[in-house]
Amino acid sequence: MANVLSMYRTVKRLGIPDSQIILMLSDDVSCNSRNLFPGAVFNNKDHMLDLYGESVEVDYRGYEVTVENFIRLLTDRWDEDHPKSKRLLTNENSNIFIYMTGHGGADFLKFQDAEEIASLDIANAFHQMYEKKRYNEIFFMIDTCQANTMYSKFYSPNILACGSSEFEESSYSHHSDVELGVAVIDRFTYYSLEFLENIKDKTSNLTMKDLFDYLTFDKVHSHTGVRTDLFKRNVSDVLITDFFGNVQEIIPDLSDSDGNNIKHGINDEEDYYIEKTVLDLAIEASGNSSDVLEENKTNTLVLKENDINKYLHNTIKSGHDAANSKGEGPITWWKTLASTTNGVIFTTLCFILYKFVIVTEPKN
């Protein structure tokens, strides 16, 4: 539980808003009567940081956390009245970070006590997402026993995966809290967080490779695994903030006025270059008094810095609808993508370490 809440706290610290985080907690440990510190969850025995103290938005809790709901969430197969806040509103430009933890084994992870998700289930769900253009890149991170088996079945492109332990290998907890009488955090997550603490802001240049190199056997006590064969980019080029931080950038929409042939994203180096150029230009041009975005013939942009901020704000607020829309007025020519290089929607998922189902009925 603390694993997930710590990860949740980290991505929030790096600027991902709650609206883009789906947090699934299968039990309310903070209010469990066995918790010596009511209302609090700690990830360290020093009790310095209450993970539950700040505002925590749990999207799926308790018995809502099921394999079915998780697969539905990924593939967006809901009925109409399912609230937007509980959906994964991503498109082909979104980078998704998925973190899972709990009891697991070879090719499965337990959900609650009654069911489990198989590695192939996730692989198939990811492929559906790919076919439905629901993601640009996925970073899948899992901390459980024999975690590396969980990503072994993936077959869809642009997925980077990382697990805490090999087949037939356990993942270990980092330390126990003798007051609570439980192990509060697992090694893999602990050292991942330790690394992520180095990222002070969104401009960090640390890459995924740095993260993977950081998680050595000495620290984690199990062989962490990384799967890169589905991923097009070199991990040493992938910034941590591509998945963990909310770095907003603007890229140009190269389509014609009918909206065809949209090109965007960093998959195309040329686009990426243009995007960078444009953004630089835009910022440089911030002294210009013009209130509207103007397109000149060479695809340069003149706008005020404030407008960029305002526009970005709106984009984020309206989620992927805004990202998809053509915009109005002068904005028509521009498309802001809350993702491409930026992490947009994070799915954080948790199944707590131990049993949590309490069915109480008078037994006499």
């Binding site: 009567s33 066995r34 918790n35 003798v178 192990a183």
Partner: protein, 585 residues
């Protein structure tokens, strides 16, 4: 199928089947020997037992630091010095302690009055944040199984309840039970709790009975008792928790009070195993009731923790920490104890044999009775008689009559014994009458003119052994030890062959008689003549619900009676003798 047919033909051609049929008595003996060796040689041998392990992840024993330490020492001492003053006064001790408990925040108390077995004071500490549907019991009888005053046990229990009331972690209610004794008074309270008491604290998941007589401050080691009534054992996870917690506190554990608890060699394992089997077979009967047995039959996992010695290394707060840590572990449970094993035999605190390994021992012996039954049908010249022959029907009728007779006897004897209570001389007299009558029945042949037909004799034996085999097989899952012990004690019954001398048969009959055999066996184990044993058996049924008495009377005595009847035939002797001679020729 063709392969099977081929095998069958091959076997028939080589005369294997005939050979097997003629050697049925030998096979029967062989199976019994295998059954005995299985338990006594095979199981304790290296490689046949396993290390215990925690099956339920949620238990997490010893993960939390235990705080019942020096700060509580003076509180325990205070309670102890006060209790020493009142412990002998059964009239006021409950009311005084009740006042103390009422002073503890969150505790409600009540006294369960029972004029026959004694009053029981209990207090319920409601879990502040729990839902109050489940409970853990901390029981400290005023008097322990040996009749000693449980002064320290009661003091530690009260101090613990006071200490527990300050913790917010409890998700289960904690019930402190102070009964007059660890025996019927506690049992009566448990029954009342589930039937008639007004103040209750939800379903009891686990209970720990504290046994710490005297006023010493120190403990040398801990004895752990776990065998319940009727073959009921606490979930192995609870025993594991107790063992792990005790060893974590640096104390040694003696299972069932075995003397040689440090050794781990073959002999020590065998001794521990046999002691466990003995405790289980005699639970509630020959063995003192430690307290945890009282919770049997209500799906409550229960152990008794007994402090031994007064030199150290541990002190009285260690004893409290054992309970504290165990309760915190059980408190973590979200479900009932359902993982791990409910059927096991322990060879050492951390070694066990699961049911799959030890069950064959009893099965082999019950098979040997089935073989003896088969032998009584096929190995004589009456084997060709049709199934509906009058002898079969007569034998079945006799089985019915014997069943009715043994049932009436079991009820009648319990009435006779219990009319007079626990008077020793009276019990001894009744026991002697019972044993005498059995001796008479064993000599039915020489003392009476009763004669039955030889065919009937064989059929009687056949049904008797078959009946016994079925009884044993059904019993071995319920109470393995009882089934195993009875099957061995009764085995001489199957050796009864008319070719033997009359004296030999007589001896076999006498030693396999349920009452005589029980009397001798328990007397040998206890090293004194157990004149009270039948009274104990009857009382165990009435007070504790222990069914051993009926197993002995109906399950064992019925076939024995039939075998004794079948022996009453002189012509049988001659005929069988003749057929044996024929075979030899």
């Amino acid at each position: 199928m063709s392969l099977l047919e081929k095998l069958h033909r091959r076997a028939a051609n080589s005369g294997l089947i005939t050979k097997a049929i003629t050697s049925l008595p030998k096979l029967s003996k062989l199976f019994t020997i295998v059954g005995i060796l299985w338990l006594c040689v095979y199981l304790p041998a290296e490689g046949n037992f396993r290390n215990t392990y925690f099956s339920e992840n949620a238990l997490m024993p010893n993960q939390a630091y235990s705080y019942f330490r020096e700060t509580e020492w003076n509180i325990v001492r205070g309670y102890r010095s006060e209790i020493t003053k009142i412990i002998n006064d059964t009239d006021i001790r409950n009311t005084v302690v009740s006042d103390w408990l009422n002073d503890i925040v969150g505790v409600k108390t009540a006294i369960h009055h029972n004029s026959r077995y004694g009053d029981t004071l209990y207090g319920i500490l409601n879990a502040q944040r729990g839902d109050g549907t489940e409970a853990m019991v901390l029981a400290a009888p005023w008097q322990n199984s040996e009749g000693d005053l449980n002064t320290s046990g009661v003091s530690v229990a009260i101090a613990l309840l006071r200490f527990f009331s300050r913790w917010p972690v409890w998700s289960k209610n904690i019930i402190l039970v102070l009964s007059d004794n660890s025996n019927v008074a506690l049992r009566n309270w448990v029954e009342a709790y589930h039937t008639s008491l007004d103040l209750t604290g939800g379903s009891i998941e686990a209970s720990i009975v504290l046994d710490y007589p005297g006023t010493s401050d120190y403990i040398d080691f801990i004895e752990l008792y776990y065998t319940g009534l009727n073959g009921d054992l606490p979930n192995l996870d609870l025993v594991n928790v107790a063992v792990s917690v005790i060893e974590h506190e640096g104390l040694k554990v003696s299972l069932n009070g075995i003397k040689n608890f440090q050794a781990r060699d073959f002999q020590a394992r065998l001794e521990t195993l046999l002691l466990g089997v003995e405790k289980m077979a005699l639970a509630g009967v020959g063995e003192p009731i430690m307290g945890h047995e009282c919770f049997s039959g209500w799906r409550i996992q229960s152990v008794t923790v007994k402090a031994k010695g007064d030199k150290g290394p541990a002190d009285v707060t260690t004893f409290g920490r054992i309970v504290e840590a165990s309760f915190r572990s059980v408190n973590n449970l979200l479900e009932k104890f359902h993982q791990s094993f409910f059927f096991y035999i322990l060879l050492a605190p951390k070694w066990f044999i699961s049911i799959a390994s030890y069950l064959p021992a009893a099965i082999f012996i019950s098979i040997s009775y089935a073989l003896a039954s088969l032998n009584a049908i096929v190995n004589n010249e009456f084997s060709s008689l049709p199934m509906s022959s009058t002898h079969n029907i007569q034998a079945l009728l006799l089985l019915g009559c014997c069943l009715i007779f043994t049932f009436v006897l079991s009820r009648g004897f319990s009435l006779v014994i219990c009319n007079r209570g626990n008077e020793h001389t009276y019990n001894a007299l009744m026991t002697s009458v019972l044993l005498g009558s059995q001796l008479f029945l064993s000599n039915l042949k020489s003392l009476t003119k009763l004669i039955i037909k030889p065919e009937l004799g064989y059929r009687l034996k056949c049904f008797a052994y078959l009946f016994f085999s079925v009884v044993l097989t059904s019993l071995l899952v319920l109470n393995f030890s009882l089934s195993y012990v009875i099957s061995i004690l009764a085995f001489p019954m199957t050796l009864l062959v008319s070719s033997n001398s009359i004296l030999k048969n007589k001896v076999f009959l006498i030693i396999s008689n349920p009452f005589i055999s029980t009397f001798i066996a328990t007397s040998l184990i206890k090293n004194t003549l157990q004149w009270n044993i039948f009274c104990q058996l009857v009382e165990a049924w009435k007070d504790l619900g222990c069914f051993t008495w009926f197993v002995i009377c109906i399950g064992w005595y019925t076939p024995w009676l039939m075998v004794a009847l079948s022996d009453c035939n002189e012509t049988l002797n001659k005929i069988e003798h003749k057929s044996n001679i024929n075979k030899q020729e």
